[in-house]
Structures are given as structure tokens and as C-alpha cells.
């Protein structure tokens, strides 16, 4: 059966590529520290020697639209083109093409549906920066096949937070039952407190540093009981109007397992958002 080489949870920040490659007067003052933290985080994936990446993210109204909106969707394609004109325009993200692993996609779909998740699927999916940001930070050579898993953290009505946890638990079991000798890393990205298109956007810190402090502690210890006791679909509007992206962290905590401490945890207080990076090694760290 397949081995879970690493489980990774991260914020995805579309400004990283531009900030990290800027020079001279264009280089922001926080760029060097940010790059150092990303390179240390990248090493936590590299050392796990993954063969394939399950990438959990969320379409930002690119291919998925309100006339036909899935709650959870698994890509099943040989290739995934990536990034859109408006991401090139706003963030300077390049067009990319990533390979897929259709066998693992099929396994997650069949097993997920049979486990009670009525997963949507896509045979032609152009992924966006929720998938490519962690490729750029964690695997910039973009050489590994992926299985994209999209969640709706964007368009109400959304699934309940506990459903994200349950899907994470199911993905863990399904990857562990995949008849393959490959090493799989499961990577999910979301947000801590975040405001976009509202009065609290682009402040000097995230809109709710207290939420961020609690969230980092929940994730680092995979404290699912603590997080689910405080977080609801209604409550997530309070820290910032784009904070439902925290539910993708809950999904990864479900993959990691209740109360399993992360083997690596780091964070960075950037303008307008807190960045946070976590890695678990189910095989142990020796």
C-alpha cells in the first residue's frame, strides 16, 4: 500500500512569487525573512521524498461558478493547466502545466463516494493559485504528479467545518489503502483571519490577530476538539470575511489526526495576513 510521506498545511499567499523575486527598490523589506521561512518549510517536503502530491485547495471563481457549484471536487485528468489571466494580472503568477495521477484520483473518487462523500469530479480542470502557490513555495520545480481536491470555502452555502475534518480523515484512510508503492504527500492550503473586499482589508496585520494566535495553536497540536468548539460557519465571518479558508486547515488536521502534534510549525506576521506553515511525518522523524 502507499505510504503517507508527509502531511502539510499552509497558508497560500499569491504575493510570494513577486515578493521573493523582486530586486532593488522593488524588493519589500519583509522579503528576505519570508524567503528564509519558505525555504526551511520547503525542506520539510523535500526530505519526505514524495512521489505524488494530493493538493487540497479552493477555486477562486475561475472554473467553478455559481450556476453549478460543487462542495467537494476531485480532479481526474492526465494534466492540469494552471493559473488564470486575472492571477497573472494581479499577482504575476506564470502559466503552468502540472501532471496528474489518474489512478490515485480514481481511487479517491471511488472510495470517497463509497464512504459517503458524494464527490464531484472534473476531467478537465485548470487549477488556480490555491494549488500553484504551494507548488511555488514547496516544490518549485513542479516535477511531481498531483491530485487536486477542491473545497468550497467561498460561496455560501458551504459545508460545515466538521465535514472538512471528516473528509480529511477519509482522504487519509484512502491514501493509506491505495494499492501502490508510491510515497504520497498530502498538502492543503487555506487562510487564517483574512479580509478581502471589506473595510478591514490590507491592514498592517491580519484582521484578527487573536484568532490567528488561537488558530496556529489549534493547528500545531491538531486540536480538533478545541477548534470545532469555537468555529462555525457563522463565527468564521467575525475574524474576517474571507476566513472560511480556515476550513481547509481543518481538513488537513483531519488528515493528520486528532491531537497529533505537528513535527514542524512556523509562522510569519505579514502585512494584512498571518502566514503559517505546518508539517507532520506519520512515519516518524528519525
Amino acid at each position: 500500500m502507499a505510504t503517507i510521506a508527509a502531511i502539510i498545511a499552509s497558508t497560500h499567499h499569491p504575493f510570494y512569487l513577486r515578493a521573493s523575486t523582486a530586486t532593488g527598490e522593488d524588493r519589500p523589506p519583509f522579503a528576505d525573512e519570508w524567503v528564509a521561512k519558505i525555504e526551511a518549510f520547503r525542506e520539510t517536503l523535500t526530505r519526505a521524498r514524495p512521489d505524488v502530491l494530493v493538493m487540497v485547495g479552493s477555486d477562486h471563481f475561475h472554473q467553478l461558478w455559481l450556476d453549478n457549484m460543487p462542495q467537494f471536487l476531485v480532479g481526474k485528468a492526465a494534466f492540469y493547466d494552471a493559473n488564470y489571466y486575472n492571477e497573472e494580472r494581479e499577482f504575476g503568477l506564470p502559466r503552468m502545466t502540472l501532471r496528474g495521477n489518474e489512478d490515485l484520483s480514481a481511487h479517491l473518487l471511488r472510495g470517497g463516494i463509497d464512504a459517503g462523500f458524494d464527490l464531484a469530479f472534473s476531467n478537465e480542470l485548470r487549477v488556480d493559485h490555491s494549488i500553484t502557490c504551494p507548488i511555488i513555495t514547496l516544490r518549485p520545480q513542479a516535477d511531481l504528479p498531483i491530485v487536486p481536491v477542491y473545497t468550497n470555502i467561498f460561496a455560501p452555502p458551504m459545508p460545515q467545518p466538521k465535514r472538512f475534518v471528516e473528509l480529511g480523515q477519509a482522504i487519509r484512510a484512502l491514501v493509506e489503502s491505495w494499492p501502490s508503492d508510491q510515497r504520497v504527500a498530502i498538502i492543503g492550503t487555506g487562510h487564517l483571519s483574512l479580509e478581502l473586499g471589506g473595510p478591514r482589508q490590507f491592514g498592517p496585520h491580519g484582521p484578527d490577530p487573536e484568532f490567528d494566535r488561537k488558530a496556529v495553536a489549534w493547528i500545531a497540536s491538531s486540536n480538533l476538539d478545541g477548534a470545532l468548539a469555537e468555529v462555525s460557519l457563522d463565527s468564521l465571518w467575525q475574524p474576517g470575511n474571507a476566513t472560511h479558508g480556515f476550513m481547509d486547515f481543518l481538513l488537513v488536521m483531519g488528515v493528520a489526526g486528532k491531537n497529533v502534534k505537528a513535527d514542524y510549525a512556523d509562522s510569519l506576521d505579514l502585512f494584512h495576513t498571518m502566514e503559517a506553515y505546518f508539517t507532520w511525518y506519520p512515519e516518524g522523524t528519525s
Binding site: 461558478w65 486575472n86 494580472r89 455560501p156 473586499g197 471589506g198 491592514g203
Partner: protein, 120 residues
């Protein structure tokens, strides 16, 4: 109220570089053309299978035609679509990085929670 249609306008303009420029230069004309020709297109269907019932309210049409993002926020337009498109329209007019985004926030500064409902 047709929040869905407002979002559909923001979505279909934002994804098309020519329409972004057209909306920047001629907001009233673009909104009138879009409502007449595009509003009822089902995005994944042949043009002959269009919807028959979608139109803006007067307040939605006026807000879109005047680039009035504060009113669009108050009408429940999706915050992400609103921000992304308006950055594309107006960030270029500001010298400092993020200056437009901060002005956008300031102009909504009279709002506290709960914000207008974005559910469609």
C-alpha cells in the same frame, strides 16, 4: 434583488482582459450591452439555450454603471469578485502599492459586522 446576476457580471468581466478595459472606459455602455446581450447566457451552454428571466434592479444597474463599489458591497455583491475586478480597474491610477486597496477599505469604514449577506 439579483445578487447572482451582479456577481455574474463581475465574474464575466473580470476574466476577460478586453472587457475589463471596456468596463473601465465606458461603464454605462458596458453594463447596458452586457445586460441586453450577455446576462442570460448560461456559461456552459450554447447561446440558443439562454435563460429568459435575468435582469438587474435599478439600483444594481446604477451602481454597476457608476463603478460604485461601496453600493455594490452594500447590495451583497461577492466581496472577492468585487475586490479583484476593482483592483484591475483602478489600481493602476495610484502611485503607491496597495493604495487603491486601502482606499477601498476606508470607503467601507462605516461598516461593522455583520456585513451584507453575500449568499446567492
Amino acid at each position: 434583488m439579483s445578487k447572482y446576476l451582479v456577481d455574474k457580471f463581475l465574474f464575466t468581466i473580470d476574466r476577460d482582459p478586453d472587457l475589463v478595459e471596456r468596463y473601465r472606459e465606458d461603464p454605462g455602455g458596458t453594463v447596458a450591452w452586457w445586460e441586453a446581450e450577455q446576462a442570460n447566457l448560461i456559461l456552459n451552454c450554447h447561446g440558443g439555450e439562454r435563460s429568459t428571466w435575468l435582469s438587474f434592479t435599478d439600483s444594481e444597474r446604477e451602481a454597476l454603471s457608476s463603478h460604485d463599489y461601496v453600493t455594490l458591497f452594500e447590495l451583497g455583491a461577492h466581496n472577492f469578485l468585487l475586490l479583484t475586478l476593482f483592483i484591475a480597474l483602478f489600481e493602476r491610477d495610484y502611485a503607491e502599492p496597495l493604495a487603491f486597496q486601502r482606499e477601498f477599505a476606508a470607503r467601507l469604514g462605516h461598516w461593522s459586522l455583520p456585513y451584507p449577506d453575500i449568499s446567492t
